[in-house]
């Protein structure tokens, strides 16, 4: 399948974009866990990032049907929302809450660093492209 040049140019950004969206999603889930650290019967949730990213990138390959040959292939569409799973509690708590604040904070920090890393990858790819466009 021949891809339009403009498509080829942005295709390299799609993977990072999908990763960025998922990392934002995960930050939200972890923030919910941290917010509910004192809520009785709250079950901590998380999702498998590896699996979610695989699904998201597989989905974007066949995202939209083109009704006109001049249409660009729509790639990089946001895939389905990742399936949330309950976290296995490390220590039981009397009020039925399964949030372990240390685990959640560590996961949130890690996720933030990864989010920043993805941003840097994106930034450097954009810079590379700009350099090519400017021809310097």
């Amino acid at each position: 399948m021949a891809t339009a040049p403009i498509d080829r140019m942005t295709a390299s950004l799609d993977f990072q974009a999908a990763a960025l969206a998922l990392q934002a999603q995960r930050a939200k889930v972890l923030a919910s866990n941290i917010a509910n650290a004192d809520t009785p019967n709250y079950q901590a949730k998380d999702f498998d990032f590896n699996q979610a990213l695989t699904e998201a990138t597989a989905q974007s390959a066949a995202a939209a049907t083109r009704t006109h040959p001049a249409h660009l292939a729509a790639s990089g569409a946001v895939g389905p929302a990742p399936t949330l799973q309950y976290r296995q509690p490390l220590q039981v708590s009397l009020d039925g809450n399964t949030v372990d604040l240390d685990t959640e904070r560590a996961a949130f920090s890690e996720n933030s660093v990864r989010y920043e890393a993805t941003l840097r990858f994106l930034n450097s790819q954009i810079k590379t492209m700009l350099t090519a466009i400017n021809g310097q």
Binding site: A31, A35, D38
Partner: protein, 135 residues
């Protein structure tokens, strides 16, 4: 943009925790209040947290204070015959506030508050970095 939702989530947690801190302050302030407006000793109050969903998305869970309940544990009885409110046995009914429990509650609330502020700040920093993308 799901990072914006973090402001809702952590914001709700911050306000819920501050309400909890408020209740702790009331309890500690009234730990010795033998008679309230109704003539009865003060009863300790506790907040009940509940998960609050924003929209249909199950992955976004904030917190809200569902209700403030009155603690119905039996009051403390103290022997003080000189007190004008003492009964015929010289006993005074004191509030059922447990200062130790309240202090633990206070520390827990303040830690949770700090954690949520941290999360909020991190989300803000990340969003600012997104704004500078490609610059």
């Amino acid at each position: 943009m799901s990072l914006f939702k973090i402001f809702d989530v952590s914001g709700s947690a911050i306000s819920a925790q501050s309400q909890r801190l408020n209740v702790v302050a009331s309890n500690l302030a009234n730990a010795e209040s033998i008679a309230g407006p109704d003539g009865q000793p003060y009863k300790s109050r506790q907040v009940v947290f509940q998960t609050q969903n924003f929209g249909a998305d199950a992955s976004t869970a904030g917190v809200r204070v569902a209700q403030v309940i009155q603690d119905n544990t039996p009051p403390r009885r103290m022997h003080d015959p000189s007190n004008p409110l003492a009964d015929s046995d010289g006993m005074v009914t004191m509030p059922n506030v447990n200062p130790v429990e309240e202090m633990v509650n206070m520390i827990s609330a303040s830690r949770s508050y700090e954690t949520n502020v941290d999360v909020l700040n991190t989300a803000k920093t990340l969003l600012q970095k997104v704004l500078q993308l490609g610059a």
